[in-house]
Point group: C2
Chain length 206, copies 2
């Protein structure tokens, strides 16, 4: 430790401040007693939307919960998370639909059919009482291009079982979806290595 | 399908637009050829900073990479992700340090000692060539309170092996850290269910 002779004073003041902070936080948390299934949205242009969703899937699996995943877009990239999650076949069901439709495909009619097929899988999982958490990965892209009618999705989500968590990811989340969601995080890109010529890499990007 | 009689036209226009978009993207990606270990920062007040980091850990495990994790703050919460990740003992080493120091503890001298112990573990992992990815979870809190000297951390990160990824999480990331990072995402809170009296729940929060 290279602290000055005043470190006892400094520690004393810091500890008093921490005590006040803890008191305020305990007060804030005291009325947080409700449990309910959440509608969770990850949006924004930054990285981490799907990654954080799969981080929640990982936690759910660790807690013995059952998880359903529909991947609306995935393209040709192999995904490391699937390799691990598929080792828990009793706790997870993953449906990967088609190829990435925003960048790689140029067939709108086919994209609409894929989006519809994905949503039908999602509806089945949401209705199936064995699931605790359903991830609709990149569904926001399908909603943004009106490949799926937003009203149909909202109506179905609003009628879900109270205990079920549903997470919807993808940039450009519709305002109507944000309005009915419980937990919304926007991932903002501050700095991205693509700008410097670095390609997508295992572990980080896929 | 309930589309109008003009859907052929609509699809045609959409497909042409998609073709132009794909062309622009292919051009953009053509010069992204470099592979390098990244310094990744997840910051901001929103959720998903650690969750997305653990999502990357999950991917790395799936790709056969070896991962080191130092949890600078964790408090008393059991974490679902550990339950799953500890099933891959050859690929992951997790060091959890102390109790949550920002909210729960009120002993600055002890917090500094814990932060130092965590950083020593992190340095060991960063120097150990068997690791491909090192996560310093919530280290930004320790840096923010000057429990660790920022210059020491920056100097060590700048000298890391070129192939190693290091991810640093926590709100209030220091500007100096952002300056040397390759990939920085800010998680912004748009909506949070604590506001409505909902408590932290398994799978979502821990």
């Amino acid at each position: 430790m290279t602290e000055s002779v005043n470190s006892d004073d400094l520690n004393q003041r810091a500890n008093e401040k921490a005590a006040r902070r803890k008191e305020a936080r305990d007060r804030m948390m005291a009325d947080k007693t409700q449990e309910k299934g959440l509608i969770i949205v990850h949006t924004g242009k930054g990285k981490g939307k799907s990654t954080a969703a799969f981080g929640m899937v990982l936690r759910c699996i660790g807690h013995g919960m059952k998880v359903g995943v529909v991947q609306f877009i995935k393209g040709k990239w192999d995904t490391g998370e699937r390799t691990v999650l598929e080792r828990f076949p009793d706790q997870i069901e993953i449906k990967a639909l088609g190829e990435g439709f925003t960048w790689e495909t140029q067939d709108r009619a086919r994209d609409i059919a894929f989006a519809r097929a994905g949503w039908e899988e999602g509806k089945r999982m949401i209705a199936d009482e064995s699931f605790d958490f359903v991830l609709l990965d990149e569904i926001n892209i399908a909603l943004r291009y009106d490949y799926l009618p937003i009203d149909e999705v909202l109506d179905f989500l609003k009628a879900k079982r109270p205990g079920l968590h549903v997470c919807l990811t993808g940039r450009n989340a519709k305002e109507e979806l944000i309005a009915i969601a419980d937990l919304v995080t926007e991932m903002e890109m501050v700095k991205h290595p693509f700008r410097d010529g670095v390609k997508a890499q295992a572990g980080v990007e896929f």
